[in-house]
């Protein structure tokens, strides 16, 4: 399979970026990031700088990888991170445009790498249950309905990749915030902190994310299929909170 690639290059946060064109020949069983690895090896041998991009686990769980491929965050295949996209998924395409996430709160560091520490800052504002090491009671003293536990788990599977922000016309992180609030606040042990939703939303705004105006595109690109029902849940908590 031969592709023409247009890849975003940008030396650092201060420099102007541009698309650089490359050709590559790979077989269909190659993953998208392995295709970029191969290109990078060619570049290095030719004495050029490798294209910088984030990746780590390459099994769709660490949340590091984050490419916009032909305008779609993470790429063509739904409910799938960039690292789990395979070239066979692109058999119908000849040209691929590869860009970083674009959002004010995620400044570009280099090429395809963006700075997502804003997400860490949101969690630091209250995305935790306050329990001192060693002070936990025996785990089975508090039974939790299976349905509630399952819902909490579904929300908790967020990998913090930021695709929801990348697709949102407002560059809002509401789905990210709602997933955390929904995970923690639906569990009995997380209900002590009644102000969690408010604290996280304030932090979101401070970090430069926009607010939610119900475009609902976040849900469609989430690799973990986090539902916008988490946002409904969060809004309900907001009205109830003191």
């Amino acid at each position: 399979m031969i592709f023409t690639l247009h890849i975003w290059r940008q030396q650092d946060s201060q420099s102007e970026g541009y698309f650089e064109q490359h050709e590559i020949d790979v077989d269909e069983g190659t993953s998208f990031l392995e295709m970029l690895d191969a290109l990078n090896e060619q570049l290095i041998v030719a004495g050029k700088k490798a294209i910088a991009f984030d990746f780590d686990c390459r099994e769709g769980i660490c949340g590091s990888c984050n490419l916009v491929i032909n305008g779609s965050p993470h790429g063509k295949h739904r409910a799938t991170t960039t690292c789990q996209q395979y070239m066979r998924d692109y058999a119908d395409e000849k040209e691929l445009w590869i860009e970083p996430w674009r959002a004010t709160a995620f400044p570009i560091i280099k090429d395809l790498i963006v700075d997502r520490t804003a997400f860490d800052k949101i969690i630091q504002a209250g995305g935790y249950i306050d329990v001192r090491t060693g002070s936990a009671p025996e785990a089975n003293t508090m039974p939790i309905e299976k349905e509630i536990a399952d819902d909490a788990f579904d929300a908790a599977t967020c990998i913090g990749c930021g695709a929801c922000v990348a697709i949102c016309p407002n560059a809002s992180a509401t789905l990210f915030v709602a997933a955390k609030v929904s995970h923690l606040s639906s569990l009995p042990q997380g209900q002590m902190d009644k102000k969690r939703a408010g604290k996280l939303l304030v932090a979101m705004e401070e970090q430069g994310f926009g607010s939610c105006s119900n475009y609902r595109q976040c849900e469609s690109v989430c690799p973990k299929e986090i539902s916008i029902s988490t946002i409904t849940k969060m809004n309900k908590l907001l009205y109830q909170s003191p």
Partner: protein
């Protein structure tokens, strides 16, 4: 080079009382004085994040470092199956003693009794802690916590959150750590990689780090340093580890004097998706929990190997684990299952893609489980794993059996530590996979998360405090010439990587070659002459590497090629030590299968009289000539017997 006695500092007396007594004997730092002490924690996976959160909460001044863009991305996140806890919620006869025994036996009696018992004892507290943090473990309809079985045990003691247990536990620790960052007790540095340890008069007193965005080298001083930097499976190039996992932090510590224990003890996990191509960058694990319901088989006849599995009649299928190990069946420990799969493929009965002329794969079949339990039940338990398999292979495991083959997954070896998790360098601690402590020659499933969190939440906070209570805090005003020197050395090394005399090949190219050598020499089977010739090959390839490695870009910018080159350089030296260790250990035990020491029926043949010790290697100034120190293992409470899972 100093000479020392290897003292494990294992407490004496009854096994149940050792940790309690040890905690009482440990010194504590007055709460008012804690903020005067600085602690550096490198690596913020389960062990590092849990330790940092707990130490920060106690009031110490903690600095943390990780190379990823956030602590939430550490590779602990990829652990799938679960975490053991001796709760006996299933009323199936489990106890701390049973978990202790299973873990020690699973490790083929090459771990310390004191450490393993403490691990089993703490397992229960970890579950409590995680639940209180909001980790959404699986529950039964009654609302109580659910359990499942895992390899090497006949009780159900594994707690799980679908196939994402590591993710949920890591997020718990990350959130606890985030709270401390907000409160100011932890200062965290993401995208920052340790380059070297700063030694002041034989004490670990800081690190040199590189800011991976600007390339800036920095020195950080502290009263002690804790390394929770994970394992070194990536020495094999292809492994189930994340691409960034590396040995550099523990290897630099080793070269500063920390002993490296049992480097050849590396776990090969039986159920991974087989390799399919040459451009492949990593292998993906399919959780061991799948063996609860999946049946492993291969065609009985070679001529069936090219057929699609549906066309192979039931009577022509060999459910070889059930046949060879009727008592444990598909749930034998990892080392045993891996060797059995290798045996079948070596006989020419493998299926799937050919790699180097051999079909490397066997089937893991869910047809019977789906038939019995229904599609919904199987989806509930393994949905995300099936989806992952489907994404990678474009085959649907609901309708056709998975293909699996063993892959490197975990390293039991690591920095030698005493009962306090302190290395042989005063003031340098190692936790989680970075140390060698609890798994002996083979780790049982669902034990890595348990060990990382036991070290992080419960052991290090006690033992680090005990150490600090005996130290005077560093004078923050003072300048240390040792720090400047360490920084210069780190810079010189980077310059050397950037300016090889005859640059030709990428770091990855060298890494792939190294991976091939070490996989054949020190993978699932090891043998004297191949180990010897491989040592020479590694030495030669290392020479070539330093002559020909090609790193483009500069040191003063974000440069992933340079990062990789630095890690590969350390893997070369470690690979040599692994082979030396494998050569020295003239027995088979756990993962370490020396072909010269295999019983008639193909099982590992231990030689307890000669090899019941931990091999702790000291850097001598020449990586090819390390000095061996032996820590004899004493078994007072269990009698090492032949592991029998038949």
């Amino acid at each position: 080079m100093k000479d020392f006695e290897l003292d494990s500092r294992s407490p004496k007396g009854s096994l149940e009382d050792r940790w309690t007594q040890h905690k009482f004997n440990s010194k504590i730092v007055n709460p008012a004085n804690r903020k005067k002490y600085k602690i550096i924690v490198v690596g913020t996976g389960l062990a590092g994040a849990a330790a940092a959160a707990s130490l920060g909460e106690m009031g110490y001044n903690v600095k943390t470092f990780c190379f990823q863009d956030s602590p939430r991305r550490a590779h602990s996140i990829a652990a799938q199956g679960g975490i053991n806890g001796a709760k006996n919620y299933q009323n199936d006869g489990d106890s701390v003693w049973r978990l202790f025994y299973d873990t020690l036996k699973g490790g083929d009696f090459r771990a310390r009794e004191s450490n393993v018992f403490r691990l089993a004892e703490l397992s229960s507290n970890i579950i409590d802690q995680a639940v209180a943090q909001g980790v959404p473990f699986a529950r039964e309809y009654s609302g109580y916590l659910a359990n499942r079985s895992f390899g090497g045990a006949q009780v159900s003691r594994t707690f799980y959150a679908r196939g994402q247990t590591g993710q949920q536990l890591l997020l718990g620790a990350y959130q606890a750590m985030s709270k401390q960052i907000a409160q100011g007790s932890i200062t965290h540095h993401s995208r920052s990689e340790m380059q070297d340890l700063i030694m002041v008069k034989n004490h670990a007193k800081g690190i040199v780090s590189r800011d991976l965005i600007t390339g800036e080298l920095e020195t950080h001083m502290a009263d002690c340093v804790v390394l929770c930097t994970g394992g070194y499976s990536n020495v094999f190039y292809l492994s189930t580890n994340a691409k960034g996992c590396n040995t550099s932090a523990i290897w630099r510590a080793h070269k500063q004097g920390a002993l490296f224990a049992n480097p050849c003890f590396t776990q090969i996990h039986p159920t991974c998706i087989p390799q399919h191509g040459t451009l492949q960058s990593k292998l993906t694990l399919m959780s061991e929990s799948l063996r609860n319901d999946g049946r492993v088989w291969a065609p009985k006849r070679k001529q069936d190997c090219a057929k699609v599995p549906e066309d192979i009649a039931e009577e022509n299928r060999d459910y070889f684990l059930e046949r060879m190990y009727p008592a444990f069946g598909n749930l034998v420990p990892r080392d045993i299952a891996s060797r059995a799969v290798k045996l079948i493929c070596d006989e020419g009965r493998g299926v799937g893609h050919e790699i180097e002329g051999q079909k490397l794969g066997v089937y893991l079949d869910f047809a019977q489980a789906i038939n019995k339990q229904g599609l919904a039940a199987i989806t509930e338990k393994y949905g995300n794993l099936f989806q992952m398999y489907q994404r990678i292979t474009s085959e649907d495991p609901y309708s056709t059996p998975m293909r699996i083959y063993p892959a490197v997954h975990y390293t039991m070896g690591g920095l030698w530590v005493d009962y306090n998790l302190m290395t042989s360098i005063d003031g340098l601690f190692a936790g989680g996979e970075a140390n060698f402590s609890d798994h002996g020659a083979n780790r049982l499933g669902a034990s890595a998360l348990m060990q990382g969190l036991a070290d992080g939440y419960f052991i290090l906070p006690t033992t680090v405090s005990d150490y600090l209570a005996q130290q005077k805090p560093l004078d923050p005003e003072r300048n240390y010439p040792e720090a400047e020197l360490a920084l210069k050395t780190a810079k010189a090394r980077l310059d050397r990587l950037l300016n090889a005399p005859d640059p030709q090949k990428t770091p990855d190219e060298f890494h792939r070659q190294l991976g091939q050598i070490i996989w054949h020499a020190c993978g699932m089977a090891r043998e004297k002459t191949l180990l010897e010739s491989s040592i020479t090959e590694i030495q030669q390839l290392k020479e070539t590497f330093w002559q020909q490695v090609k790193v483009t870009g500069s040191g003063m910018e974000l440069n992933q090629t340079l990062e990789r080159a630095g890690r590969v350089a350390d893997f070369f030296e470690l690979a040599e030590l692994m082979c030396i260790d494998a050569l020295e250990r003239e027995e088979s035990c756990g993962c370490h299968a020396r072909e010269e020491h295999i019983t008639e029926d193909g099982e590992a043949q231990r030689h307890d009289d000669d090899f019941s010790y931990v091999s702790a290697w000291q850097y001598s100034g020449n990586t090819s000539l390390p000095t061996l120190h032996k820590e004899e293992l004493h078994f007072e409470f269990v009698r090492p017997n032949t592991r029998n899972y038949r």
